[in-house]
Symmetry: C2
Subunit: 236 residues, 2 copies
């Protein structure tokens, strides 16, 4: 018997903030909660997630991947921890703690499934939809923190390049960074920085189209996002 | 009554990674666990922390500040979330989740108190002591992640300057960054970058000593650490 009485244990859940880019906007994956009147926030949109199952889940990340798969059909490759939120008031059912994970995935080809408590699952654009202000529980605040973490992280990794086709121009790459970061970047500095890394390889082909032909590139390593060096030194 | 049975709830705790600098080394605050044989890891060093008290704690951060104060006497101003660790095996008492916080504080004048489960509390140097490999539970892994987070964070904030006396030279400031980051920095780039921010104000005084007189600076804002701009642009 544990020295800690079971009535002293909070409700424990995981929630997921899954981002992607579609139609040139950053999107987040949300589920609509069931309409059952005994459930809190019936029919309100929420982050996908749910309670830890102590028999089924070996750890929190296992639980997060299971909930994501069951509620949305999405299989995320790598999850990053965003943090946890826990208080006496965040869930009307009692003291609760949720651990939040983040992933940025390619949207194309991802089948969204409905099931479990989630009557519905869909991608919502971050900007303009005001969906963040109408989420269940404290999920609006959690989503805000996750967006900040994503943008902070992305600035130093090759992650956005994984959302592109295997061969892309520097203009297409810059546009993808701009969509994820939510702001415009200075073209010359972006190119200088990108080409200074070992991130990209030139492909012996040009992209032809309405504008003048542009050099095509591909990721030198498509298996895992690469972190850029962070240093105090100005780049030469 | 909650739809989630109480036996389905994990043990829920908080742990703290509190860092400081003393004798020119980065140190972490640890407590020695009680020697009671019914407790796991008797007399082993561990991060300060403990179980959430659902009646006493309004939220996780409140719980963390309370545990820190009770077990070590330390009052930390701002805590940052590092993440949570939860699994079936990390605590021999059962499925458990811990939420981890981080702070970097000035060590001088901080009285360490013994109390509660912690028979003893002291600062341990990060480098050389190999203490990380001998910590209770998964605290070695947690400490490793917290050090990485601290170093990542510090690189972009004025936080290390808060560990210095109110007036300092650029050499003293660089040394403090080097101790916290665990590596040497290039002098000219460090100075260029520091003076390019609005972080520092010149004091109308020089530091006199055995070496030649050096300009003294102070923080323009001593209330909160300032984040440096992060941009794609190379710094001029």
């Amino acid at each position: 018997m544990s020295p800690i009485a079971v009535f002293d244990r909070p409700l424990t859940s995981v929630d997921l903030t899954i981002f992607s880019v579609a139609r040139e906007t950053l999107q987040v994956l949300l589920v609509r909660r069931s309409g059952a009147p005994e459930e809190p926030f019936p029919e309100v949109w929420a982050l996908p997630g749910g309670f830890v199952d102590l028999r089924q889940d070996a750890d929190l990340e296992h639980c997060a991947l299971r909930k994501l798969r069951e509620k949305t059909g999405v299989v995320a490759p790598d999850l990053e921890k965003v943090g946890s939120w826990g208080s006496a008031v965040r869930d009307p059912r009692g003291w609760s703690v949720t651990t939040v994970y983040l992933a940025l995935i390619a949207a194309g080809g991802t089948a969204l499934a409905a099931g479990g408590n989630a009557a519905d699952a869909r991608w919502w654009p971050i900007e303009g939809s005001r969906v963040r202000e109408r989420l269940a529980f404290d999920h609006g605040e959690i989503l805000k923190a996750a967006i900040a973490r994503l943008r902070n992280k992305v600035e130093y990794t090759s992650l956005p390049a994984f959302l592109l086709t295997p061969e892309f121009t520097l203009t297409e790459l810059q546009q993808m960074y701009e969509v994820v970061l939510g702001r415009t970047l200075e073209k010359k500095a972006f190119r200088t920085r990108m080409l200074a890394t070992d991130l990209l390889e030139e492909v012996p082909r040009m992209k032809e189209g309405r504008s003048r032909p542009a050099q095509l590139y591909r990721l030198a390593n498509r298996r895992r996002p690469v972190f850029f060096a962070r240093t105090f030194s100005p780049r030469d």
